[in-house]
């Protein structure tokens, strides 16, 4: 028996997890089959996928040059301890990953 009995509200809630490939195989099937019989949910998932896809294409966010320069200066400052003032574990990498998985084909 199919687990296709998903309401549009549930599909709405699951769309992010679907995009991130976090649904089980059964849930993914039920989710996608719901989309095929519900044009509004298909349109919504398509909009979300395209928006997240655009973000994923910009997986790296370059720091402004001015900020990099200031950080480099701090790094070489004699008084600098080597840790960000916000404390251990709070240091940021120069590049930041925003979105994980790319789209399925």
């Amino acid at each position: 028996m199919s687990a296709l009995g998903l309401s549009c509200e549930v599909v709405f809630d699951l769309t992010g997890a679907w995009y991130d490939d976090e649904l089980s195989e059964n849930d993914q099937n039920a989710f996608e089959q719901h989309l095929l019989l519900c044009p509004p949910c298909l349109a919504y998932s398509d909009r979300l996928r395209r928006a997240l896809g655009a973000l994923a294409e910009a997986t790296t966010v370059a720091m402004p040059a001015e900020l990099v320069e200031r950080l480099v200066l701090r790094e070489h400052s004699p008084s600098h301890s080597g840790l960000d003032e916000s404390g251990p574990g709070q240091r940021r990498q120069g590049k930041m990953r925003i979105i994980g998985n790319g789209p399925r084909q």
Binding site: L42, R104, Q105
Partner: protein, 223 residues
């Protein structure tokens, strides 16, 4: 083994948005590790009813092909020819056939509770619907059957009669996947002994209908 893939009219993948335009005849490699949620997704003939969309293409798969319950996934795929028989008209005929199947299940349930004359009315109304698209009589007939007092506990006669109305609405307003789903749900609601998994049996019936109408190889499992 023949494989198929539904795409949007724009040539994009229905769920992935992957742009298949211009790629017919060229191998497309999956991006990243192949699994149930990644890779080139395709259908066997028996999977078609689950994934109905606008355009249907033949697709060749390469490398290990992993079979899942309703689909297959491979690392490489090459689109072949479009299945030209899958048209809007074919989709409409399929939806109408699914309405007929819902009516069939409702009529069978009515007969099971001794309401044979109402079942015959449904049969006659669905014939008129199939022949000329006249659905008022079927709608009215189904509405009457929804109201009829059924004294058999567990009978789905009223419920399945209501499904006829739902199927007719879907026939008019929704993609063919909707009527197909309603028919499979109707089968699964039957109260009598109609097989181990009536839902799957109904999906197989749909696959055979599609294979016959589209000139595709018959599914591997008979309904």
């Amino acid at each position: 083994m023949s494989y198929y893939k539904f795409l949007l009219p724009s040539g994009l993948g229905v769920f992935s948005g992957y742009d298949w335009r211009g790629s017919a005849g060229f191998w497309v490699d999956a991006d990243g590790p192949v699994g149930c949620r990644a890779g080139i997704h395709a259908c066997r003939v028996e999977d078609l009813p689950y994934w109905l969309a606008d355009d249907l293409w033949r697709i060749e798969l390469d490398g290990p092909v992993t079979a899942y319950e309703n689909k297959v996934v491979a690392g490489r795929g090459r689109l072949g020819e479009k299945v030209e028989e899958w048209t809007g008209q074919a989709a409409l005929e399929f939806s109408a056939a699914c309405v007929g199947r819902v009516a069939y299940h409702a009529a069978a349930e009515l007969r099971d509770v001794g309401l044979a004359s109402m079942a015959e009315d449904i049969d006659a109304a669905v014939r008129r619907f199939a022949e000329g698209g006249e659905w008022d009589a079927l709608t009215e007939c189904a509405a009457e059957c929804v109201q009829v007092p059924v004294r058999h506990p567990g009978s789905a006669a009223n419920l399945l009669s209501a499904y006829i109305g739902d199927a007719l609405e879907s026939f008019r307003d929704d993609p063919p996947a909707a009527a197909a789903y309603i028919a499979a749900r109707a089968a699964s609601q039957r109260s009598g002994s109609v097989g181990d998994d009536p839902y799957l049996d109904e999906r197989r019936w749909q696959a055979f209908w599609l294979a016959g109408r589209l000139g595709l190889p018959a599914p591997s499992v008979a309904p």
